[in-house]
Subunit: 175 residues, 2 copies
DNA sequence: ACACCCTATGTGATTTTATAACGTCAGCAG
DNA sequence: CTGCTGACGTTATAAAATCACATAGGGTGT
């Protein structure tokens, strides 16, 4: 819960390394802003339509460093005056996921903003079971044991789900 | 990894290696039988109760090399005269998963029999999106990029989900 | 401007997946 | 026998996701 207030102004502290990794304090307003700006830029560049609902959902996801369920998102959309039926949330999420702005955490049936916007990638996640924080790491599935097994039997990997559940550094400290 | 696997008996079945991996033809009656026998033995050894429902569910999972949803299992249980309400299936599945006789495929919200009974392990799966076959490979999550990332930030991994979706060798051939 | 089409959105209903809550019964320890 | 525990059965409900259909807005070509 370290993240849920938009702390103070200080718009000039990109806690680099920590930002990449995900657990660790950082200027959160900054990461929401840049996340939205990056998305907007890429949508313009690629002819994608970052509509109000989609933008709002992305903003909500960026504001948390946790996975949000579709229905949590839906509640907030309702509060903001958007449609209030499940398809509204699911369609926005589908758009964000398909275009790499967000990811689904299969283990939680929930969604997080992508922490590494840009090219396509196969993300890996660390999920804290105490505080629900989620951090995204890079992964190289084709290089590990799984990739080797796939090559050995001739399985053609199209997509991977890599999720680690455990305790985040903050929660370890608190014990 | 470090698995002392119990598969080493396989005297003259055609596809040893394939059996380990999962895609490929093999003596299927054999793998159901040995799967059940192994489970029974381990339950006796460890004081676990392999009750009729649990045994039947395990048998059903062993008969497929695919993930079965809880409700598919429930239908078959009903046909066999067991209780027909969801908790019946979920409780049996919980038992099998908790004790390592089966795994949940998060990506599919479905379940498969464990292909590597024996010690605790962190499985990795290959899921064919054409024919729904599922193969289990060994994984070494702590050694890959994810393990490195976790160590770097001080995240303590307790459990991992590793699932690759793609096309299995059989389906590639058929194209 | 107009008609047309395509995409996105809004809404109601339904399906699929999973859990809560509570009663019963069998096996076993005291 | 009594009381406990773990497994099972059933009703009900929650949570997650999709289907089907209607409407609205923004471009395009004419």
């Amino acid at each position: 819960m370290i993240y849920n207030n938009m702390t103070s102004e200080t718009p000039s502290t990109p806690a680099d390394n920590a930002d990449l990794i995900g657990f660790a304090k950082h200027d959160h307003a900054f990461c929401v802003e840049t996340g939205l700006a990056t998305a907007q830029a890429r949508c313009e560049a690629e002819g994608l339509r970052l509509t109000p609902v989609r933008r709002k959902v992305l903003e909500m996801l960026l504001q948390e460093h946790r996975a949000l369920g579709a229905y949590a998102i839906l509640d907030r959309l309702r509060d903001e005056g958007f449609g209030s039926q499940p398809p509204v949330a699911y369609r926005a999420l589908d758009f964000l996921v398909e275009n790499g702005f967000a990811h689904k955490i299969e283990r939680l049936n929930a969604f997080v903003a992508c922490a590494h916007p840009g090219g396509s990638h196969s993300p890996a996640f660390m999920i804290c079971r105490k505080c629900d924080a989620v951090a995204e790491a890079y992964s190289a599935p084709a290089k590990g044991a799984l990739g080797a097994a796939a090559r050995a039997v001739g399985f053609e990997i199209e997509r991977t789900v890599v999720e680690a559940e455990g305790i985040c550094p903050d929660c370890i400290e608190k014990r």
